[in-house]
Amino acid sequence: MTKRQDSIDTLLNSLQERAKELNCLYAIEEILNRPGVEPGEVCRAILKAIPQGWRYGEICQPCIELYGEKYEPDGFQPSRWAQHADLEVHDHKVGVLSVYYTKQMPEADDGPFLKEETKLINTIARRLEYYISYQQMRRAVKEVESARRSPTRTGKGEWRCVLDLLRATDHDLYFRIAHKMLNHLCGNGIRPALDLMGSPHSMLTEDQEGVEDLNRPHSGTAFALSDAVSETIFDIADEHIRDAEILNIVHKWVQEDKLSFLVQVVNRHLTLPVVADALRRYHHMGPAPLDLHSPARRGVEVALIRRFLSDQLEFINIAKNYIGLPDFYQLLENLVYATDSHGKLGGKSAGLYLAKNILQKTEDLDKLLTGIKIPKTRHITSDVVLYFMHYNDLDDVVEQKYKEIDQIRQEYPHIVQMFKRSRFPADIVNGLSTVLDEFGDRPLIVRSSSLLEDRMGAAFSGKYKSLFLANQGTKEERLSALTDAIAEVYASTFGPDPIEYRTERGLIDFGEEMGIMIQEVVGTRVGHYFLPTFAGVAFSRNEYRWSPRIKRDDGLLRLVPGLGTRAVDRLSDDYPVLISPAQPNLRVNATVDEVLRYAPKKIDVINLSTNSFETVDAGEFIEKHGEEIPGIAHVVSKFVDGRLRRLFGMDFDQSDGELVLTFDGLISDTTFVNQIDTILKLLENKLGTPVDIEFAFDGKDLYLLQCRPQSQTSDTIAAPIPQDIPRERIVFSADRHISNGRVSNITHIVYVDPQQYGQLASREEMLAVGHAVSKLNKLLPKRQFILMGPGRWGSRGDIKLGVNVTYSSINNAAVLIEIARQQGNYVPDLSFGTHFFQDLVEANIRYLPLYPDEEGIIFNERFLTQSPNMLAEILPNFAGLAGTIHLIDVAKAAGGRVLQLLMNAEINQAMAVLTEPHAIEEPSPVVVPTAEKPAEQYSRWRLQMAQQLAAQLDPELFGVKGLYIFGSTKNISAKPDSDIDLLVHFAGTPLQRGQLLFWLDGWSLCLDEINYLQTGYRTGGILDIYLVTDEDLANKTSYAVKIGAATDAARPLPMKNPAK
């Protein structure tokens, strides 16, 4: 306990010291930035600032010697306890900075001085050097300018003046320019110059004369030009070249020279601090002139992009047009890194950084792009994770990825704990401490930004952690919460899900490193909560279109109040507001009822008093805090007297009507949606790929939080449409309003014949079709059947237009298809799933409209109507509807084949093809080669377990007559979180029933645990048990129809031989 106290004290102590140093540095920075102050005055001011940075400030006496001038405090007395740092400008010593203690103090690292103090004095010296050289440059520039203005001077004076200045301030550069000029003159065939070049001796200074060997290259000696020879060169130039041109090329050479050291630094793979230092030096060398994009500069920029952002060529190719040297200077100021770091920022940071620069550099072109902000962000370089692990002896965790997945899963919680208990190296803690000083107590989000994340052309999103921090309390508490969060994000690199994902995509051997983004959370403080007014995600391509008027490149916007977490994820119990950015007035929900049903009802917020992330009721929260949330009036409407009314003033009281989050005001009264549309189009255009972005709005400004290529999961990737499929294997094709995707392994088709349905004589019969579909939805294998029907699924009232179903009657289908058959001379409008559109989106049920009577469309009516119809066998009560509803078991009707639906929005075509089962994953051109675990693997394991269970089940003991398996396991379509559906034919006593269920429950829990270790999914019991009785079998009620069914029948499992 005391030991810990000690270490805390030590930490505190050293933190206090760091704070003093920082104060000192800030003070000096401020002095140096004061405009129009004499150098002498600056030195005297610095003398006053220095003592506060030293441990024993009260006895600390600094002194500066500069160009022979001495600056000392009053009563200065040199002593033997001293530190010195030379001051050099352009590699020449021009003075020295010293710090003395007036009396002896206890021994520390370097005499009485701390090693940090040594570093500090050097830092101050460097800063002073930049200042001096900057002042000289400024003076030079001023002189040139005054020369230009002076009537007595000609153009000639201008470049002469520059050169004079160079000679005075940077002699070496002067010589290098002279040498370049000589080369330039010779290159242009100017005689006197060639002569000068031809007599090598004339180029050498006297003391080197004679040493020169003609066989040796000259270049090494060129630096030894004398003043006299240089004068001659410039005189020759004066005679042969126009003054303006001389000035121009001299200027260019000076710039290039400035860059040369940068070129060396970035190309030599030096550590990050060295690069940062070089950039800083370049930056402080003077105001960057508006020079052309010289090749050298381009080279440096590309090298820096490769070094910090990404080595992907596609990325570099785009980034080099938007990210320049000054940007890197800014960027490096925002980095936290180790002293020997070589790391990058990681994919997420790089993507955001590029997007930000594209927006900033094009904002002049469009007024809508101005004022878009990026939240204050600090980056930790990617290799710090390795440094951190090494520091804590965790190096071998890297090999975790090669272990078996269940072992990884089992060990993962332990790794998280280990990481969270580990300590960060002192330099990183220092860096983070500074970051916290800059952010204050603003809530933060710690985001992963790994090297693999969000690379162009690959989707690797949502696999690593992002953590919100309320960032409240004392500095120590906040620091510890921050390091804790970073450790947790680090640990997520070794989580089972990302490792599995990488294994599947052949990325496991990639040296993954984890960069970190520390971002301030966009928002405002509201009571003791913190939240943005609204946030969301936007996609430049819309794969879920609710109206034929909306085009795919009109984009899609998912908006929620508060933090954007609820827009990013698909929610089962709430809905984001969907808007098409290019056509915001075509809303998904047309009637008041629909708007009410699908409006967001919850808000994610940060609770500052409990330091936690919370979900609160939207209406209550806004009623209570509405007045404090800037701009919320644009988001809410009030439901009064059956009508949705925009809020006038601040009327958040719900007693006269409920608050509903419609975002109506945002669409009609602000440019927000146009802004998003413009951003999406610009970024897609510049990045050459569809993008998705995350954003937040704090009531004043729009912030971009993330930008990456629009994720292309197998759901939304364009499926290649094969051209060589024999016509008889195509069930239908389509070419209107197609979105991207592929639905494989369709085993059943439910086809409601539009003509037959249209001729049903009574409303009751039409309602019965809806009931039958609802029953089939429960009985058919989930997400393996498609529903095809006339006109508008979900019609109410006039149900002649489409089958009367609710969402719960279709929620297991994989695809919902609406057929518009020509009737006389008109083709009916389709609903586009509007009756439950948002439910379809959140459940990822695909929608497809068919127009069978249009030219060039294949519609295999014969297959749909002439294939054996299973309806009567599955639903005997509805046998009378067999002329209208066709239930097709695809395998039976097509010789063991299954149906696959391929949709390609790029060419606006879709096709349903009969294919061999499991031979369907054709190589796709965009995604990294996938070796996705087939459903087979999950199904096989489940089947084996079910068989073992059956073999152990004593039928006599439990009164069981038969055991069957059905559902996804039997159909080889199990997913990692699928249940095992068991049907038990039970004929025992109530006591046996209890015992049986108890016995099965034990199995269920055990298997669930094993499944969790293998897949990470826990369901709290994996077996789904359905008991059926003799009576059920006789009456074909409930699940008994599955036994011996004509299609998708349950499969019997052999049980333990009864003990003889």
Partner: protein, 428 residues
Amino acid sequence: MDDKSYNPFAMAQAQFDKAAEVLNLDAATRQLLRQPMREYQFSIPVRMDDGTAKIFRGFRVQHNDARGPGKGGIRFHPQETIDTVRALSMWMTWKCAVVDIPLGGSKGGVICDPHNLSSREEEQICRGWIRQMAKFIGAQVDVPAPDVMTSAQHMLWMLDEYEVIYGQKSPGLITGKPVGMGGSLGRTEATGYGVIFTVREAFKELGVEIKQTTASVQGFGNVAQFAIRLYQQIGGKVICVSCWDQNDQKSYGFKKESGIDPDELLKFTDRFGGINKDKAREAGYEILPGSAWLEQPVDLLIPAALENQITVSNVEHIATSVKLIAEGANGPTTPDADQKIAARGIFLIPDFLANAGGVTCSYFEQVQSNMNYYWEKDEVLGKLDVKMTSAFQAVSELARKRKLFMRDAAYYIAISRVAQACKDRGWT
């Protein structure tokens, strides 16, 4: 189109013919009543947001105005047909007649899908509809109202266009307006209260003391909530209510023997009438399957949710204690189940009588708008009580006298009132 196919207007005519037979109507009256008196079909040109022009098809059918100005909604529907509109306008004639309000029957619509329209485009359709129809509607002629996919907003656009054309205020043109803009108070309560006014009269007639009765209700939406409230106020006890659970995608029953408390339930009910079952359990409610409401041993069942809820397959589960069924929803009982209910001697208040509180309140809105003087809520509800009570008494008296089932009695009384008006005017 094949003659075999389902045609709503042909169905409505067939139903009417049957009733006309029973009522022994003369040929001319039959001829008049089985057809709408006037039909308008017209085009509405609209400039769309993208600059293109689009033509929408509009309808108004005025079935009969012998008893007063036509009354009926305007539907926005992508596959609207003239036959649907004809059938619905005829239905409106009977609906107004059964509660004996001095209005005739109309219906209108536009072929369009609001899901494909911006709100500006919808406004243009509304204004276009009025520009075509202004000469043929009016507070003393034909009074539109909201219907499928139209709302108070659409009514205000339409009213505004009409008032611009005529250069004068005319709030009585249209109903369904918001309170303060010519709407009536009490509309929220009207349908639910109306159900209970008829229930009260029915129990009186059955000789049952309402304070001794219990009820079970399907649905917890607007109609059910106000029905439960009034029923408990006058002494009854609701022990079970069922509702749809959006998360589980199925319905549940909520039971409390000591009587449910709507105020308590409302604290955890969403705006669609979905009760949070965890919180209900905490509050001492027993959670039952969705079908349980029908099986409770109560005196009164109020189906107030969806159509086709009482069917042949569950009608047998109705407890023997049930004496009365009041149809708060539209068409909750299928025809075959209807017969079984009749056979068991359960008294049934048919939907178009039980839930006529809504249309009655629309009539009150029009009356108030015409005189530009608006009543307090109590006055509206008091007048509603009077109307519903006398409507019920007339129907039940006919049923008793002619030994008819209530549903038929209501239908016959409506038709004979309209027929009488036609005769009185000397039309037939």
